[in-house]
């Protein structure tokens, strides 16, 4: 037993978090920044945070993650980090020559109250920010929200690069939220099938699922360009996927530049993808090509073929709010029961939304925002589930309780594939289902007595 000390009896904890289902803001900001072409993410704080964030992202994406740091020591922590950041910018543009440096703060620089905007002005004045190059900044105090909040804050900083304009370029801004590089690729494929010209930001496809060619490029092909961000105010509309990840940026473009926005759930599963395609169609004024309808039909076909394996199975799932909302809806649509749903990210709306989605179940879903995996494990010990869905840390619970486990979310440290095979859209939903059926049937095969060990479905 790897988590042998987790008791069945649940006692309320007010101060101690055990096995968190979230991490801190800056890592989300770092990931988002990697989705800009020619961008170097920069962590304004001690070098430790930067090392941790780079390591975790590297372990998840299995790709080089470059990011610099202000390398605070005690002096900077007392006197403020301005000098460090200005010096850092000078070094960065001399040595790495990025198009843009995307700075996010950390606990440290937030606690001492460094103001990124003021530092940027200072750097410009000192000539440390070359002409035609950019520094954007996002405040990401790690004692507020979670990694999701940090992602959202950096995406908003990207939106803030938009310049006021009277021009319209007929494009649609698509803010995908914290999804995998392959998911972003898949969303672009869907848009292309629908013949819609989009600006997607952030866009980590090509950057965090790049090829091995014997050449290392610190700034690979891919990513939204600075020019595209500047022109994002010229778009017809913004479609933002995920309230937690993407809404702030979209609303900002709406209120500041009058680019009307639609905020949708992330397109995981059937219904959320239906809504996504439908809104894309309406906003862009196009019709949905048969190819997409065909993909949808395949998904429906799979659901009907395999329904018996999903029907009334109990699921425990943990992760980030936007992903969980769509996933719970998907689970319900195939008649599975999300029994326990936990996110570490705060937000009252989350609990309500999940309860609504699960309102037609014969028992009440146990759902918690700002929860941890220790609690979820205790729930499981009290009443087991048939399937566990979550990031790699779930493997300890899965092994102890002998539960079929599907890795989905962030971070996945111990498997490959999530950066190549999308789980958004109809095709992505097919992959999810394939994974669910895979582990459920593996379990059935393992547990069946010889007499009922069967070859055909």
């Amino acid at each position: 037993m790897l988590l042998r000390h987790t008791p069945v009896e649940i006692k309320e904890r007010k101060a101690l978090t055990i096995n968190p289902a979230k991490t801190c803001q800056p890592i989300g900001a770092m990931y988002a920044a990697l989705g800009i072409h020619g961008c170097l993410p920069h962590s304004h704080g001690s070098q430790g945070c930067c090392a941790y964030h780079r390591s975790t992202l590297t372990r998840h994406y299995k790709e080089p993650i470059s990011a610099s740091t202000s390398s605070f020591t005690e002096g900077a922590s007392v006197f403020g980090g301005q000098a460090n950041l200005v010096q850092a910018l000078n070094n960065i543009f001399n040595v790495y020559d990025p198009e843009v440096v995307a700075v996010h703060t950390t606990c440290l620089s937030e606690t001492i109250g460094d103001d990124l905007n003021q530092i940027r002005i200072k750097a410009e004045k000192d000539g440390k920010l070359p002409k035609g190059k950019y520094m954007i900044g996002a405040p990401t105090p790690s004692y507020v929200g979670s990694h999701v909040t940090g992602f959202s804050n950096m995406v908003k900083a990207m939106a803030q690069m938009a310049e006021p304009t009277d021009k319209k370029n007929g494009k649609i801004n698509l803010i995908p939220g914290w999804v995998e590089p392959c998911d972003m690729e898949e969303l672009k494929r869907i848009a292309a099938l629908m013949d819609i010209d989009i600006t997607m930001f952030p866009d980590t496809s090509g950057i965090l699922n790049g090829p091995l060619t014997g050449e290392y490029k610190m700034f690979p092909e891919g990513g939204v360009t600075v020019q595209e961000l500047i022109e994002s105010a010229q778009a017809t509309a913004t479609i933002a996927l995920g309230e937690w990840c993407s809404a702030d940026a979209a609303r900002w473009l709406d209120s500041k530049h009058k680019v009307p926005c639609s905020i949708l759930d992330m397109p995981f599963g059937l219904a959320a993808t239906d809504r996504f395609v439908n809104v894309m169609r309406t906003v862009a004024g196009v019709s949905v090509p048969d190819a997409i309808t065909h993909e949808r039909g395949q998904l429906v076909d799979f659901i009907s073929d395999m329904h018996q394996y999903f029907y009334q199975k109990r699921v425990a799932i943990f992760g980030d709010p936007d992903q969980l909302i769509s996933m719970c809806e998907f689970l319900r649509s195939i008649d599975m029961y999300p029994a326990y749903v936990v996110t570490g990210t705060p937000g009252k709306k989350f609990v309500k939304r999940i309860q609504e989605i699960c309102s037609d179940m014969p028992f009440e879903v146990k759902v918690k925002a700002e929860g941890d995996m220790f609690l979820m494990h205790q729930w499981i010990k009290n009443e087991p589930v048939d399937l566990l869905i979550g990031n790699s840390y779930g493997k300890y619970i899965a092994r102890d309780e002998d539960i079929p486990f599907v890795r989905w979310g962030f971070p996945i440290l111990d498997r490959q594939g999530h950066q190549y095979f999308p789980t958004v859209g109809y095709k992505g939903a097919l992959r999810l289902l394939e994974k669910f059926v895979g582990v459920l049937l593996d379990r059935k095969d393992r547990d069946s007595p010889e007499t009922s060990f069967e070859l055909v479905l």
């Binding site: 101060a15 968190p20 070098q47 590297t58 070094n91 014997g214």
Partner: protein, 543 residues
Amino acid sequence: MTKNKAQWNPTDIKEELLKKYPPKVARKRAKQIMINEALEAGTPPEIVANVRTIPGIITMRGCTYAGCKGVIMGPTRDVVNITHGPIGCGFYSWLTRRNQTDAGADGENYMTYCFSTDMHDKDIIFGGEKKLEAAIQEAYDLLHPKGICIFSTCPVGLIGDDVHAVARKMKEKFGDCNVFAFSCEGYKGVSQSAGHHIANNQIFTNLVGENKVAPEGEYKINLLGEYNIGGDAFEIDRILKKCGITNIATFSGNSSYDQFASAQHADLSCVMCHRSINYVADMLETKYGIPWIKINFIGAESTAKSLRKIGAYFGEKKLIDRIEEVIAEEMPAVEEAAKKALPTTKGKKAMLFVGGSRAHHYQDLFAELGMKTLSAGYEFAHRDDYEGRRVIPDIQVDADSRNIEEIEVTADPELYNPRKSEAEMKSLEDSGFKFKEYEGINKDMDEGTIVIDDLNQYEAEKLVELLKPDVFCAGIKEKYSIQKLGVPMKQLHSYDYGGPYAGFKGAINFYEEMDRLLGSKVWSYMKAPWQENPELTATFVWD
């Protein structure tokens, strides 16, 4: 030491590495990039180490908290480690160092758990002491561990929470649970090294010496600076046991509360990673009279050498004979494995840039495979790790090191007990036996190789481009950028989820691993056939 007159000129390489930097950065880096020369004269050139990283230059380093909680205390299974701070630091140090552990008969193991006070903005504004106190109480009520350790992250130091006072209060309150704290905020010091220091000092102050009853066994040693990555300590323990040597405490791999608490009963301390722990060995000697030696269990030859050194220290025929028997038993398999790997590995070139002493130790394994180390360096070393312990008195203490507490240790009035008489020590020394000595990496590397402190991503990439090593060793952050260049990269912090690499069986694992890595076909696939022969001169197969 062999002279290695390389085709490339190290001075040019150094110049090339520095070319792109702004002048100030170049000046600083020039002192941390050293051409290894004048070795024969016995005074390798001086290097600048343990100084701040440069803002904006992408470093390999982590922070003090990482060194304290992650490296030193992390592998202690039966202590509840609570990170006091926002959630991130605790989350990232949760199971990411591959310190394997055996929960033992008592079954206590908290290493798979991550405990944090998860500070929110109101804790930052109003102070986090209350929350910390409540968290310690909750951990105690829930788990009743032997010990609870508290780790301060950056904001905690800034807002001035007195973690030590809270710990003292709770320790008194519980009576049966040792609670103590570490002021290991990430901004203290310039690297993980400061964190090791802070951790070790607290272990020494709060744990060592607590167990009054001596553990049973003959030839008692402590193994210092071994973290059981990928099961290294398991293999070392296997060998020690086979030789009849009793390992009382490993600092800190597969370690437990009681091991630390009994360390004063050992008769010899054996130091693996000099960087992270040499001062603990010194303190154990000063306070309890336990001499220490530097050993190295990375590499089969080194393992044999280290075992013989331990044997010579105790000086008893029974032990010495047993050690020879064990070596004779283990070596044939090692030689067999080397023979298999050598055709692939011989003459190949390596570079290693890893943490503490690993960049030094692993050169022995490479040497056993007929491989040369072209360039190496440490992520968080001090000058003595490069130049040998004799430079310690010359090292200037700067402001960044001064804020790391130093503890004064004196001989324990009751427990101090010199393990060997002065005459015995002297006669051992006269026979060539060296106590308290670490020669440093420079002396063991070829003339003209390049030694670099605190290597950064840009220099790593340049080095690989210019010197084209056959394998590059560093950590996860460096792994994929090096591989994109078409060069195999071996993680020597986490071993790429392989290992153990220590001891005899570990050496065999490592030989096999190098054989696989260097022999892998994948490195020949970089170019598609149509990129290699772009002209259209195809013929039909039936022509």
